[in-house]
Symmetry: C2
Subunit: 142 residues, 2 copies
Amino acid sequence: MTRSYFINEKGDEITFQLFPEHYVMGNVHSLLFNEPSKFVYQALEDTKVYVIDNESFQNVILQNPRFLDLNRMDFNNMPLKQAFRRVESFVLLSPEERYLKYMNDYPSVINRAPDKYIANVLGITPVSLSRIKGRITAKRLR
Amino acid sequence: MTRSYFINEKGDEITFQLFPEHYVMGNVHSLLFNEPSKFVYQALEDTKVYVIDNESFQNVILQNPRFLDLNRMDFNNMPLKQAFRRVESFVLLSPEERYLKYMNDYPSVINRAPDKYIANVLGITPVSLSRIKGRITAKRLR
DNA sequence: CTCATTTGTTATCTTTTGTTATTGTCGAGC
DNA sequence: GCTCGACAATAACAAAAGATAACAAATGAG
């Protein structure tokens, strides 16, 4: 389980992404955008780290048109597609619906990452996430 | 000025992106993801349309490592980078801050696209956007 | 120009969220 | 065992957002 986050103006850590196993968290900013990353990358559990220099990476791009598949082992979920889906979820869904979708898409993350991280990923506060969880279980019991 | 939108469960059109001139709106889904697009692409003003088949596009990818720069004429704003920035704005900013940032980033869109489109892009309702605009001008007059 | 449609603003009400503070739980370390 | 710190749940309050309706302004077709 890995985590990427940045620091906002107030100095708080804002979690941007959480990856369970079989995902590769790449430093997309420095590799693709050719600029220093705003993100801090953190391993929440034991994790393999591969280091690749920019030039080698350019060669990977040139030789492999599917280099964008970097983010997932099964080469079926490109960063761009992930990002599109995520923007879609913000445009189309309410926070509660977003949480339900996240639970469905990344079930292995839900019970292993702290809720305060997940709240950031969903674009809401930890308190709001707690309330949403409460509403959902209340509905479930009814 | 062009627009991409999809249809939600209720049957409403939800605007996903708005592009001013000098941007190229590409059908990323069908070309990159190799799947039919959920989006409808619409020209709000006179627009040049280029059609490219999938095979030719694969060649473009293979021959040009910067193919991702598709979305902007000045080749400085890749779709992935745009998508990352947009997710960032949802994670970090309030709806009002998001609108101010959008005004700053796409000033030419603000006064030419209907607010109901812009509201969708920002992930809020048109009514809410109208109130946000009201709050901002109220602050400006104070 | 006129009429009909669309779009934007405003008001009202309800729901949700953010903020802050409090409480309880759990685990690490002493 | 005890304390301390981190995290989640909850409450209370204010602020904002969603839904809806009514009205005004702008747009477009004829």
